[in-house]
């Protein structure tokens, strides 16, 4: 099957490439996952290219050219908001905020969760018990309430939201990582590694982390979906940056300025639909990844 390999490094890279290729093939057979990935790719590309494709000045309230709350027309395909700005433009730019916050908060959350999860499972003893109680405590706490509390006391802005969401959503990842680490560490090859003389660093680095990473990856995509909903909720509730246009703040304005009662559906639908599409895409990708990386779940998911 394999061509003769010249060096140990080549062997390692070859098997890594083969593993990734195999994961991709299985992932590609999952229609939901592919659709989700497709949508995500399009959205991310559009969001990144927004400054190039569109004119940011259209977001400036003072430069708005349309009339307030006009229904969709040729010039404004999605109508205008209460200040006369193009809803389409705002939805476009809102994507950037949502994606930025979503990703950053997720990175923070997954980092904290993975470190605590691995530590709780690997070291055992009182440290493990302490970390476990700590995790359980934060897991049960109503996260949005906590996030609201944090957002209220910290200066308003994007970084506050990122911090609030990141700090409140790590427990799920931590539990997942802990459970997976415990499973891996109960396998005989860990004992073999210890018998060969491996210490903590070796075992965690060479066996635990590579074993845990795939599931963390799948979980991460689901966490991003969560974080985006959390961000939009917090923005909606008014704790975001008032100057930034985000989907949550658009909807908040819709409520407070009576766009709702005036039946301005063009203002209401796009931000919400955008959230649904993004989160659903992340969910589909996440579930597809989970099925691929954890074959045991194939029966439960499909």
């Amino acid at each position: 099957m394999s061509t003769p390999v010249s060096s140990p490094r080549a062997i390692v890279w070859q098997r890594r490439r083969a593993a990734v290729a195999k994961i991709w093939r299985e992932f590609a057979s999952n229609k939901g996952g592919l659709i989700g990935l497709g949508f995500l790719a399009v959205i991310v590309v559009l969001a990144v290219l927004a400054p190039v494709i569109t004119d940011e000045s259209g977001l400036d309230v003072t430069k708005a050219t349309g009339g307030p709350l006009r229904p969709p027309s040729g010039e404004f395909p999605l109508g205008t908001d209460v200040d006369g700005r193009s809803v389409l433009l705002m939805t476009f730019w809102g994507a950037r905020v949502s994606l930025l916050v979503g990703f950053s908060a997720t990175v923070l959350s997954v980092l904290i969760g993975t470190v605590i999860g691995v530590a709780a499972a690997h070291f055992g003893g009182w440290l493990s018990a302490l970390l476990l109680r700590f995790t359980d405590f934060f897991l049960v706490l109503p996260s949005l309430v906590l996030a609201i509390a944090l957002s209220a006391v910290l200066p308003q802005g994007i970084s506050t939201i990122i911090l609030a969401v990141g700090i409140t959503s790590w427990p799920t990842t931590a539990r997942l990582v802990r459970a997976q680490t415990l499973t891996i560490e109960s396998l005989p090859y860990i004992e073999r590694s210890k018998a060969l003389g491996g210490g903590h660093l070796h075992i965690v680095g060479k066996h635990v982390l590579p074993g845990v990473m795939p599931l963390v990856l799948a979980n991460t995509t689901l966490v991003v979906g969560n974080s985006i909903i959390a961000e939009s909720t917090l923005s909606f509730l008014g704790v975001g940056d008032p100057t930034e246009v985000s989907w949550g703040s658009m909807l908040s304005t819709a409520l407070t300025t009576g766009a709702v009662t005036r039946g301005a559906w063009w203002y209401l639908l796009p931000p919400g639909l955008a959230i649904v599409v993004i989160v659903l895409s992340f969910t589909l990708v996440g579930r597809a990844l989970e099925t691929v990386l954890n074959p045991r779940l194939r029966g439960e998911h499909s």
Partner: protein
């Protein structure tokens, strides 16, 4: 803010069913769990203090950041809130106050926080309670049926719907329902001023107002319960003891009903309890959209101060309630699962 929908997450932090145990006795178990809950409550109290007195640096400045103030006003506020005392004294005052039922005074509404919370508690309980019950009933039933008919149109359709609904932000759904129902249901509040004063009319009136917020809240959670129940049952259906049951000559539906479903139900039910915190979180935005006069709306209004004493009080109460529910979940699980009971 709903939780990551990962099937690999162990639904219960309580017990590993494969672990062999020697008996520890029910009393010991209950006492241990009570002690743990107490410890969590203490942590909640400490966290409340930390968040609202220590993080903002100078809470008075944070509270008044959106309002015009004068140095005299600030000084008066500081004295009233006790912010000028040393931190430890503040903490003890705070704890003593909590034990007496005194949670400080609302800065914006100038009323005792405890009174405000007491007034708003019942509407939230009504909303959250009804939504949870309906979501559980609907979710579990649909989940079981979808798993039974796995792969069928029913299953695929409902799974698709559930996945989509789970991706919908609750507040947006509320807004949509508001626009769509277009006057069919009241759009704000809990009571109509013109309802007849007798009990039946009042109840019907409240129910009328309850429909939209309740539906908004339950839609997202039924989806989660349905997906978890479905995957739990699907996982259970591969168990070996089901082959034994079939070999004994049981009909397939009996095999599922008598053996698979009860076993799959256990972790799902405790998950419902554990997710209570999220339902409470969800109620904040739903109450905000519908101006439902509960704790969520109180929080929403307090956010725009920010009215720190109110936020602190609500935080402690909500978090404490969730800790209590978690305790009930652990005790319930022990009653339901004989493998834990023997321990």
């Amino acid at each position: 803010m709903t939780d990551a929908l990962s099937s690999t997450e162990a639904p219960s932090p309580l017990v590993d069913p494969d672990e062999r145990r020697g008996g520890t006795g029910t009393t010991r178990f209950v006492l241990t769990k009570l002690a743990e809950a107490l410890a969590s409550l203490i942590l909640v109290v400490i966290l409340g203090f930390l968040l609202f007195r220590m993080i903002p640096g100078d809470p008075v400045l944070t509270m008044t950041r959106n309002r015009p103030t004068s140095p005299a006003l600030l000084a008066e506020l500081r004295a009233r809130m006790g912010v000028d005392k040393p931190i430890l004294t503040q903490f003890f005052d705070y704890v003593r106050g909590l034990l007496r039922g005194d949670m400080g005074t609302s800065y914006i509404l100038q009323r005792p926080v405890a009174d405000l919370i007491a007034e708003r508690a019942w509407p939230t309980i009504l909303l959250v309670g009804s939504a949870t019950l309906l979501a559980v009933a609907l979710g579990l039933w649909l989940g079981v049926r979808a798993a039974w008919k796995r792969g069928s149109f029913f299953d695929r359709a409902h799974t698709g719907i559930a996945l989509t609904l789970w991706s919908v932000p609750q507040f947006w759904l509320g807004l949509l329902l508001l626009v769509a129902s277009n006057g069919l249901f009241p759009s704000r509040g809990m009571h109509s001023p013109d309802a007849a004063p007798d009990f039946l009319s009042q109840t019907l009136d409240v129910a009328h107002h309850l429909v939209l917020p309740c539906v908004t809240l339950l839609v997202v959670f039924y989806a989660q319960y349905m997906l978890v129940m479905r995957s739990s049952l699907l996982g259970e259906m591969n168990s070996e003891y089901l082959t034994t049951a079939r070999a004994k000559g049981l009909r397939e539906d009996l095999v599922r009903r008598r053996h698979a479903v009860p076993n799959a139900l256990l972790p799902t039910v405790t998950l419902v309890f554990l997710q209570f915190g999220m339902v409470v979180s969800g109620s904040v935005s739903v109450e905000a959209v519908f101006s439902w006069p509960g704790l969520g709306q109180l929080t929403y209004d307090a956010l725009h101060g920010p009215d720190l004493p109110v936020l602190q009080g609500v935080f402690v109460v909500l978090a404490g309630a969730v800790v209590v529910m978690n305790l009930l979940a652990e005790l319930l699980y022990r009653v339901l699962d004989p493998r834990v009971r023997a321990a």
